[in-house]
């Protein structure tokens, strides 16, 4: 099972770009990389998913190098409301038997 490693916490300021990097050295060929966001007292919410290179949606960008042993979630121009815990996980998205593992997450704090 691919294990992920993320920084425990990060701080930034409103308007800045925030990049959170996740290491997954043992990622398997069929694994995808997915990021979730969790606010206090709420369930996690899907942000973005990718397999390789770059994926962008209205919320974030996901950069995946060729070796796929790491990935970087990029949040452009963060606001106070982006303060949350961000989880990186790897797994096979189309398999109901995929044992998707959430790591400890990165607690992102945004200051005015």
């Amino acid at each position: 099972l691919a294990k992920t490693t993320q920084p425990i916490s990060m701080d930034s300021y409103e308007g800045q770009e925030v990049n959170i990097t996740c290491s997954h050295n043992n990622i398997a060929t069929n694994d995808y990389i997915t990021w979730y966001q969790q606010f206090p007292s709420q369930g996690p919410r899907f942000i973005i998913q990718g397999y390789k290179t770059k994926v962008t949606n209205e919320v974030a960008s996901l950069f995946i190098p060729a070796d796929r042993k790491s990935s970087t979630l990029s949040l452009p121009r963060v606001s106070l409301s982006d303060t949350a815990v961000y989880y990186c996980l790897v797994g096979v998205p189309h398999s109901s038997a995929s044992k998707i593992i959430f790591g400890s997450g990165t607690r992102l704090s945004i200051r005015p």
């Binding site: 997915t34 369930g43 109901s96 995929s98």
Partner: protein
């Protein structure tokens, strides 16, 4: 409309009691999950059901028994509650058939406190 709902939101009970947490999703998804989030915020999968069939059963005490009466519901019954069962339990669902992404939709969580 709430996509994934759980009841109750808070549950406080004594050791040794039996309790149930209900989960319903109105997204038409074919797969549902139960997760446990402990005080350190680690989120661990407990069970996964696909079309009412148990797919994933992690190392969970057999005091925990999921029940899926239909695709839209996955309830969690816990017997003989212990102090260590105190946590937030999240239900989630996803649609695995077709599409590129396996986006899991999570419920609001049930905070279980065992005294």
């Amino acid at each position: 409309d709430t996509a994934v709902s759980q009841t109750p939101k808070y549950l406080v009970t004594q050791m040794g009691n039996d309790k149930s947490i209900k989960c319903e999703q109105n997204l038409g998804h074919d797969t549902m999950y139960w997760y446990k989030q402990d005080s350190k915020k680690f989120l661990k999968i407990m069970f996964s059901y696909n079309n009412k069939e148990l797919i994933i059963n992690e190392t969970v005490p057999n005091r925990f028994s999921p029940k899926s009466p239909d695709k839209a519901h996955l309830n969690l019954h816990i017997n003989s509650l212990e102090l260590g069962d105190s946590a937030v339990y999240f239900c989630a669902s996803s649609q695995l058939a077709g599409g590129t992404y396996n986006e899991q939709f999570f419920g609001p969580g049930t905070r279980l406190t065992v005294l």
